[in-house]
């Protein structure tokens, strides 16, 4: 006999440790199974897009750090590239290479946090994330060396970088790059074949190719579903066309594939940094641009980069004054959340946490 039960509404979040910030899921349960889920956000809304309109182009750079605070360098780069495209500011060769090095280091750091907290959500409590945070700490040390801050770097400027890297940076970076593959092997040994992890993630939260494309997902979410789409290859910006690297893809589009894609991407980032260090030219790192005010010609521009979470785009409208008329940010975390319902419905509450962890969102970017 089948007993008829009332659906139960369960709020997961906003102050739940595995919602990665202040995110709330209103899940409707039938017994243990989720039959409907509604994401609710806005708890961290700071109005960054509006703040951009009240600040000069230059003054908005430190605020881009606060979008996706796990990958601040990537945000800096995306915004600076948008303004450079708008105002046609040239960027010296050395600056481009250092930007690529920084963006790739940031990708490793962001994926370390993503993978670590995903494993944390799966129940591998604290051990893997502490190993990964230890490696991230080394990257953060390098960023502190070049920019002076550990989280909000504010390092890139229109037409290059704020300062050149110090002399002690490149030897330290080489040491890190030599160490990193060994640590990645260690993470694989730790959890790649762990039966409990396989049982919890394989086949859980399958996102089909079609749904992923229809939801305009980008980044590791899309690649985990088997679509080899990476802006670094599809629309090469900066100097990415000069490097050799692969696009790791998953096969089934489940949580495990997304985790693997992130780990493999870290290896590819190490490859890119190694090539960039070999090709690094000498020269200036900043073209002649005004330090304080720039007045780009009236017009609009959209510029995108492959941030660790997906396509991060800045859409700027200029009216020829010192501040943007409109600034819209296409945050990958926000758009990747749109497939949450498709993935979660039909799974149990414990799986919902795993699936949500595999999306890898940062609330600073979702709410802006």
């Amino acid at each position: 006999m089948v007993m008829k039960t009332e659906p139960l509404v369960l709020n997961i979040g906003p102050a739940h440790p595995s919602t990665h910030g202040v995110f709330r899921m209103r899940a409707t349960l039938d017994g243990e199974v989720i039959i409907d889920v509604e994401p609710i956000f806005g708890y961290l809304h700071r109005g960054i897009e509006k703040l951009a309109e009240e600040r000069t182009y230059q003054q908005f750079i430190p605020l881009t750090d606060r979008l996706d605070y796990v990958s601040a360098m990537g945000n800096n780069m995306a915004y600076c590239m948008a303004v450079e495209k708008l105002a046609a500011i040239p960027v010296p060769e050395r600056a481009e290479y250092i930007r690529v090095i920084m963006a790739e280091l940031q990708r490793i750091a962001s994926h370390l946090i993503a993978v670590g907290s995903f494993l944390n959500d799966c129940g591998a409590f604290m051990t893997p994330i502490l190993y990964m945070v230890r490696e991230r700490e080394k990257i953060v040390d390098l960023f502190e060396m070049v920019s002076g801050q550990r989280l909000t770097y504010n390092y890139m400027r229109f037409g290059g970088l704020s300062q050149d890297v110090p002399d002690e940076f490149l030897p330290a970076l080489r040491k890190f790059i030599d160490q990193m593959p060994r640590y990645l092997d260690e993470y694989d040994q730790l959890l790649k074949e762990n039966e409990i992890l396989l049982a919890r993630t394989k086949g859980v939260g399958i996102l089909s190719k079609e749904t992923a494309i229809n939801c305009s997902m980008t980044g590791p979410m899309l690649r985990g579903s088997g679509v080899p789409w990476d802006l670094r290859k599809a629309d090469p910006y900066s100097v990415y066309s000069r490097f050799e690297f692969d696009i790791p893809c998953g096969a089934r589009g489940d949580s495990y594939d997304r985790y693997r894609v992130r780990v493999e991407e870290m290896r590819q980032s190490v490859r890119i940094i190694r090539q960039a260090m070999e090709q690094l030219p000498v020269g200036p790192v900043r073209s002649k641009t005004p330090v304080m005010l720039i007045r780009p010609p009236a017009g609009e521009v959209y510029s995108h980069v492959e941030s660790p979470k997906g396509e991060l785009g800045f859409y700027l409208v200029s009216d020829g004054s010192i501040a943007p008329y409109r600034c819209h940010i296409r945050g990958p975390s926000f758009i990747n959340l749109t497939a949450l319902r498709e993935m979660i419905v039909g799974w149990k509450v414990a799986d919902a946490i795993v699936i949500f962890g595999s999306i890898d969102i940062v609330m600073g970017e979702v709410d802006r």
Binding site: Q59, P62, F176, Q189, L190, L198, A199
Partner: protein, 165 residues
């Protein structure tokens, strides 16, 4: 889910954790031990050079929070305004370093110190007496390579974990 074998993957993972038992800890007991920060640290103990400052307010214009307030007196003779009030509210300051970057007279520096916690919000406002530049003060090398050379080299975690080689 069906698996070919059970337990081997867990045993492999436990080998890694076992290996970590014999690694040296890298934890630092903070108030007693401190690490050297970056030479370009953007610390909140900002330093202001009264001799060099002309009161042009470029720093206040560059600050997007409006944390710098500056009042100058008129000066009909020279090209330098006497600064009557110079305050930075570090409660609002986000340590972006833009004021230091834009200063055309090299009169404002980020501080190398970072221990400026206060019990009251009002105490976070740094007046010009607090920030005044003296030769004993530690000044950060952010945008000033000559000061950076005086600071000790940064301690890197990278160099602390070496026993595996």
């Amino acid at each position: 889910m069906k698996l070919d074998y059970y337990g081997l993957g867990i045993a492999k993972g436990l080998m890694v954790t076992l290996k970590h038992l014999f690694r040296r800890p890298v934890t630092v007991q903070y108030p007693e031990q401190t690490l050297n920060t970056s030479r370009r640290i953007r610390g909140n103990e900002l330093v202001w050079n009264e001799e060099k400052c002309t009161g042009c307010s470029t720093c206040a214009k560059a600050c997007h929070i409006g944390a710098i307030s500056i009042v100058t007196a008129p000066n009909p003779e020279g090209d330098k305004y006497p600064v009557e009030k110079y305050e930075i509210d570090t409660g609002y300051c986000i340590m972006c370093g833009m004021c230091v970057e834009v200063c055309p007279f090299e009169a404002l520096y980020m501080g190398a110190g970072y221990e400026k916690a206060q019990y009251r919000r009002g105490d976070l406002v740094q007046s010009k007496e607090v920030m005044k530049y003296t030769s004993e003060k530690y000044v950060s090398g952010y945008f000033y390579p000559e000061f950076a050379a005086q600071l000790p080299l940064q301690t890197l975690l990278l160099e602390k974990i070496t026993e595996e080689e």
